[in-house]
Structures are given as C-alpha cells and as structure tokens.
Amino acid sequence: MKNREEIAQALAACGYIADAELATAISLMQLLRRPLLLEGEAGVGKTEVAKALASVHATELIRLQCYEGLDQSAALYEWNYQRQLLSIQAHRGEDADAIEDQIFSEKYLLERPLLAAIRRAKPPVLLIDEIDRADDEFEAFLLELLSDFQVSIPELGTISATSIPHVVLTSNGTRELSDALRRRCLYHYVDYPDVDREARIIMARIDGAGASLSLQIAQMVENIRKEELRKVPGVAETLDWAAALVGLDVRDLLETPETVHETLMCLLKTHEDRSRVSREVTERLLGKVA
C-alpha cells in the first residue's frame, strides 16, 4: 500500500474515515519509518487511528497506556521473581550455575508491551497512548528505544527487533513534550472532523443511521461545538448520541425536538454546560440544521 487514496479506502473499510492529510501521514510512516505523533483534543479519535491501522495491516495492536510513574519494569520487561524463587527452592542442592542459567532464561521473563512489540514475527502496531502523562525520564528512555529498536537485558544480552513496529504516539497536551521526541516523529494534529466527515463517521459506525439523520446529527454537533462550552463534545460523544437517537427510533431531528433536548446528556458532560444549553438554545440550534 503506497499511495494515500488506497490507504484512505483501506481505513474506511475498517470503519475509520480519515481525511487526506492523515492518509498522507500514514503513507509517510511507512515510507520514512518514523513514528507518528498525534495531538489533539480529547475525544477526536486519536486512539482509533492506531486501532484502524492495526486492522488495515491485519496485525496485532500492542498498547502501552502511559501514566505518571510508569517505569521500565511496567513498560519493557520484568523478571518473574516468584517463579524464580520457586525454582531456586525446587532445585536446592544442585549446581549453582545451572540454576542461574535456568532462572534467567526466557521462560522467566515477563514481556511488557515495548519488548513484546519488537519481538513479533509480523510488525505490530505499537500504540503509546497519552505519552504526555508519563514522566520526562520515561520519555528519554522511549526515545532511545525508538531510535535503536533494541533492548539490552543485563542477564540475557541484547535483544534486537525481529520486526520494526508501526509506532503511533498520542498526546493530549497536558505536558509539553521534549523537542527531541517531537523531532523524531511525524506530526499530525487531529482536529474535530467537519460536518461531512463526521456524518460519514456516524454512518460507518452506527448501524441503522441513515444518511439524512447522520448529516443532521453532524450539523447539530457542529452547532453545539460553537457554543461556549466547558467541555466540547468529541467524536466519541457524537457516536454515543447517534446510537441513542437510533435506539430511540428517531428518524428526523426536526420532528422530535423534545427527544433531542433530553438526549443531549450524551454530549454535554458538565452541569454548567447542561444548564447553558436550555430548551430554547436547543431549538435555536436545531433551527440552523437544514
């Protein structure tokens, strides 16, 4: 798969409607073998990109969720201490070297996501989610791994990658990432989709959502995003709402303003926003929907 039209089609077949730029980014990922850094507001579908990519390549998705205090033992590898101890007890009295060789063999190694990702036969998609939540130290370590794709384990030796994974990093921008990491990656800013694309996303994801209803929903969400809100609804919320409307058997938003207003809880997640979008506001916004 080389050109972006093919990629966009393949992604669409997996239920991810990509814009042309994202398709370019993915083709560059393959061409230049660089990781892809996705930034954007919460809920615009950053994680979904990796999932769709995995199904396009028909390969495994290995996900590393970052959090504060994430360290090597949780991300890379760890020895299975309990099993090692049991083994020592069981082989008591035997040759010490033999025991040592045994307990530091692959059998006692616990593979964590990063190690797993470079040891697969077929290159998997490695999703490093919310990298901004991890500490600076972890970021530096990750940088090293992403450039060499090899891991040295003191007791075992160096393990080099059998296949180079497709790496996708996501960030919500809660912390500024280092320039070094940014430079190493291709960068793509994921924005809220436009009405047309969002409608297509709804149609692809929600069974029973017709073209006209999807378009109406997308327009309504677009209108709501323009209001002064504390939490702007993302694509995930749109899909929730669409599913709710389809479930309630709504065919046309304009005919059922009551239901529309009552189901807005799928989109508006704070008390303040909920009270700001009153019945009148809902009607005004509905008025702009064609």
């Binding site: 730029e21 980014a25 992403l146 921008g173 500024e176 960068y187 800013y189």
Partner: protein, 402 residues
C-alpha cells in the same frame, strides 16, 4: 531513524535536481528561522520524498512536508502559509520569508511574523525597562559583597516606582532572581524530609531478597513521589501597572529560570503566553521578543476576559493540582467585573492556591474598592502588597508552605 529509500548523493544529481536541492536547503533555513526544529535527518528525508516523486504534486508534497517538519500545533498551523510563500510564491503575512534571507536569521520567528502588526504598538512594555542594564557594574567580589547585601536590604524598602538608576534596577533584578532561587530550594528541602516509605512494596522486596533465598530481610518501601510546585504567573501589563511591569518581568525571568516548572503570561486587554520568549537566556533579547508579544501593553485592562482566555485555552495544559497561580495586578478592571468573579471561581477550582499581588496596596489610603478586585477577592488565597522587594521576600514562607 533513517529513511528507507536511497538518498541521492549530491554528485549524481543533474542540474535540475541540484537547483531543487538548493531550493530545499533554502526552505529548511526559512523553516528554522520561523522557529521549526529541523535537523539533518529531516532534510535527508525531505530529499528522499522529493526523489520519490512527491514533487510532481504540490498538494501532496505540502502535506508530506507538513507532517515531517511540524513538531507542535503552532508549527502545524503556520506551515501551509510558509510553504505556499516559499514554493508557490504567494505573499503571506511576513515580509522576511525570502529564500535564505539573512535578515530573518538574526530575528526570532515571532518577530518576523508579527512585525507588521506590532509596528504601531511600539515598545511600551520595554520602555520602563532600561535595556542598557546589561553593562551595569556588578557588586559581587570580596568586601563589596557585604556591601551589596546591605544595599539590597536598603533597597528593599523603596517603592519600585522610585527605582530609576540602572544600577539599582540591576540590583532589584538580582534580588528577584535570588528570591526565586530561595523559593525553590525551600521546596526541595521539604521534599527530602518527607521521603520515608509508608507502604511495603512486595514485588521489589522479593526481588531484593533473592540473594537470601526469598526470605524478606531487607524491606523495600514505597514512598509517595514528591513533585515540585508549579508556579504560573499572570502579569498585568496595562497602563496603570506600567511603573511595576519592568521589575515584575525581571522577577518572572528569575522564576522561569529557577523553578523546575513555571509558566508565565502577560495580559492587558488580551492574554499572551510569554514563557518561551522569556526563557531566552539573554534578558534584553527576551524583552525584545516580549515587546512583540505584548502588543497593546500599557492600555486598559480586561482581567476577566484574559482569565477567560486562560481558562479556556491554557489552563488544562498549564495547571495541575500542584500549581500555584500568582496574579500580579492592581485590579482596575475595565471589562465586566462579574465575568472576572466567575472566571476566578473556575480558576480556583483547578489550581491549588491563588496568590494576588497588588502593588497599589502599599499606597496610603488604598482600599480594595474597585469592582474588579472586589469580585476576585473571595477566590483568592493570599492577597498581598508587592511593590517592594521586601514584600516579595515575605511571600517565600507562604510558597514553601504549599
């Protein structure tokens, strides 16, 4: 990581591609001048892309280069304009985007992008700054050191407005930098005293005791990781504050240098994020960049609107639960006071402490009666005068207590 395609050597290139690569080099320079972080790898990958046939389709090339060269949202947004200007010859925003322009090389990107806008606003922010302080004599060595210290004490009582002598200003700046340093070390020391585990880490204990055959003799404990306080400064740069802006700017400079985590914003009728410009090591260059950012400084104040912008666009990134927000303002609000109250409440929910420093407080007969300050006060944890260095020093124990 290297590109996978073969990179054409310079010698093999024919005349046309030689021109193209010269042009590409010029483009890379333009990008660097505009604040992009572009290294050799990127250049090589770009050449590979051009060789791979991307050149034939400008739209595709632009998109490909955009992903390759951008590193953050701001780059992402300005890239298209730069690309069009350079490759397609469209004239956009800046006038210094010509190929390999040496003029742009000396000036930071912000400057070149905002040149035309800032010309009318002038340098109000910098005027009370006396940029020549850099060559002022230092009172540092030997006996002079003692004298310097006592002089600082003396200076501490003078209202900032009366500081006109460049040497004295320099000294005030030194005190600010020292103070910022002291705040930080105070925090670190607290950090150390707390380092005592309160919970057993079973996994590491087993690991650590393999040499004892698994009998847990040496216990490993878990401790809560102490993280440094983050200081977020919001400085009012309006006309009524112009007496004090200069010194507080220098104080912010010290804070950004010395705190591990700090952010700074300037506001007047609108808000500007100035951390990056201020982190410039050279103080006068920082001021130069700053004056570009602070267009309209010295005019009125819209604290409420500025805070609204802050809450909406910056707070989620800049503020976490260990953040202290320090607002330096006289509280003379020309906008809607109710809005200010509402935004202060929203801010108070997010951060740990809000400190409001008001230079006017030390004035005789001053009472916080302006509508703005009255609306804001209920949400403020500490409301203190800060027109003298001494009053800034007094903040130190408070910050250390957080």
């Amino acid at each position: 990581m290297s590109c996978c395609g073969p990179t054409p050597g310079y010698d093999e290139l024919d005349e046309v591609s030689r021109l193209v690569s010269a042009k590409l080099a010029g483009f890379l320079k333009t990008l660097r001048d505009s604040g992009f972080v572009v290294g050799l790898h990127e250049g090589r990958d770009a050449a590979a892309l051009m060789a791979a046939g991307f050149v034939a389709r400008p739209g595709l090339l632009r998109s490909a280069f955009k992903h390759l060269f951008s590193a953050r949202k701001s780059d992402w947004e300005k890239f298209d304009g730069l690309f069009d200007a350079f490759w397609l010859g469209k004239r956009v925003r800046s006038r210094s985007l010509t190929m390999g322009s040496t003029k742009a090389a000396n000036s930071p990107s912000l400057k070149s992008l905002q040149d035309n806008k800032s010309e009318r606003s002038g340098n109000e922010a910098a005027t009370d700054q006396v940029p020549s302080t850099d060559d002022a004599p230092e009172h540092q060595s030997g006996e002079g050191r003692m004298e310097g210290a006592s002089r600082a004490d003396n200076l501490a009582e003078i209202d900032f407005r009366k500081l006109a002598d460049p040497a004295q200003i320099e000294q005030a700046h030194d005190v600010a930098a020292r103070l910022a340093k002291a705040m930080r070390t105070r925090l670190t020391r607290r950090d150390l005293a707390r380092r005592r585990g309160y919970r057993l880490d079973l996994r590491r204990t087993i690991h650590g005791n393999i040499s004892h055959g698994g009998v847990p003799i040496d216990l490993v404990k878990r401790q809560r990781k102490q993280k440094p306080l983050r200081l977020v400064m919001l400085l009012d740069a309006s006309g009524s504050m112009s007496m004090y802006t200069g010194v507080f700017l220098r104080f912010i400079h010290g804070v950004l240098d010395e705190f591990r985590e700090a952010e700074a914003f300037l506001f007047h009728t609108r808000l500007a994020h100035v951390s990056d410009a201020m982190k410039e090591k050279n103080a006068s260059r920082a001021l130069d960049r700053l004056s570009m950012l602070a267009q309209g400084a010295g005019g009125g104040t819209k604290i409420g609107e500025s805070l609204q912008t802050f809450n909406r666009w910056h707070a989620a990134r800049v503020i976490h639960s260990r953040s202290c927000v320090m607002i330096v303002s006289d509280g003379y609000e020309t906008g809607d006071a109710k809005l200010l109250g509402r935004e202060m409440a929203a801010l108070a929910k997010r951060c740990r402490r809000i400190v409001w420093l008001n230079p006017m407080m030390a004035w005789q007969g001053y009472a916080p009666e302006a509508a703005g300050i009255r609306a804001a006060l209920p949400h403020v944890d500490l409301y203190a005068p800060a027109n003298t260095l001494k009053s800034l020093t007094e903040l130190e124990p408070y910050l250390a207590k957080l």
